[in-house]
Symmetry: C2
Subunit: 185 residues, 2 copies
């Protein structure tokens, strides 16, 4: 039996409940009951409900930010493969956090605090296309980004099983799309 702090236990339970029932669909009371403490204890460790959310997604957000910064240092011709593999590895490592982020996007995307996130996704999208100027390639990249992030959410297959399939479908759709443009209908 490992010794776990109440704070860590709150985060563990909250992550699970938020992913299962959504952020708004999970009350502090729900979390407190499963943790085995009072609701006031949650608000002793975290100032607000939103603080729990921020704490949960912070590591994933940091790693995503690091990935994007690293991709920015690469040249146009060599950026796609690291982008695809880096992103796939990221969402597979943070499955629950990805589900959580996708859940709260509708209610936070219009807030001013969400503003600096948009250029981040644009840079990631650009890395996926190999910085192509073709808007059709941008659409393809957005589809792949969203599709990959969406798949890992409620998928119970092992990461090692899905990883190669995800990378392959992204390579097919993106690398082919940005290298040969002669098959337009």
């Amino acid at each position: 039996m490992v010794r776990v702090s109440t704070r860590d236990e709150i985060l563990r339970v909250a992550a699970e409940r938020f992913a299962r029932s959504g952020y708004k669909g999970t009350s502090l009371q729900d979390i407190a009951v499963e943790v085995g403490c009072s609701k006031a204890t949650l608000l002793y460790h975290f100032a607000h409900k939103e603080s729990i959310l921020q704490t949960l997604i912070a590591p994933a957000a940091r790693d995503l930010s690091d990935l994007i910064a690293r991709l920015d240092t690469l040249g146009d011709a060599e950026v796609q493969t690291p982008a695809i593999e880096g992103f796939v590895d990221l969402v597979l490592r943070y499955r629950r956090e990805v589900a959580l982020i996708q859940d709260v996007i509708p209610q936070f995307q219009h807030e001013p605090a969400f503003e600096p996130v948009r250029p981040l996704t644009a840079r990631l999208c650009a890395a996926f296309t190999g910085r192509s100027a073709d808007p059709a390639h941008d659409i393809a990249a957005e589809v792949l980004l969203g599709g990959i992030a969406g798949l890992v959410i409620d998928d119970d297959r092992a990461a090692a099983d899905v990883r190669p399939a995800l990378i392959r479908v992204a390579r097919r759709a993106l690398i082919a799309a940005s290298h040969d443009d002669d098959d337009k209908d």
Copy 2:
């Protein structure tokens, strides 16, 4: 000035608010204020809040069901193109409804009423892969299905502009994937 019934106005406002702030993030009061009627009027026209939701997504659900039934009549070799084009046209026609459905999936997917939906998506997924038995093809199809549905949500580009790009990325990723299997790494 066209004459619109209160009921239709409720549906119009609810669709917009649900898509913008989410189902749980939109109260009956919010809708009533924007419609210009009382909250009780909403509950006169619709028995519950959930009835509004069901009414909104019913046409999209019916068309999706029809599409899947039509795809079931096609052979394995000829099903992919109609599946891709049919699905893209569907989500482009029902952008707001798609956003709404994706928003409420986390809170309704565990309910028994959601049970008959799962085989539907499996059949659509199978049509996307050309009924391939390879699990990697299934993953590719799920990525594309989710990615395409996710893209149209908060995309303000005209349907005619995105449609060819969506179809092309899906064809690249899926048709190539299921016809030549000799590039595994």
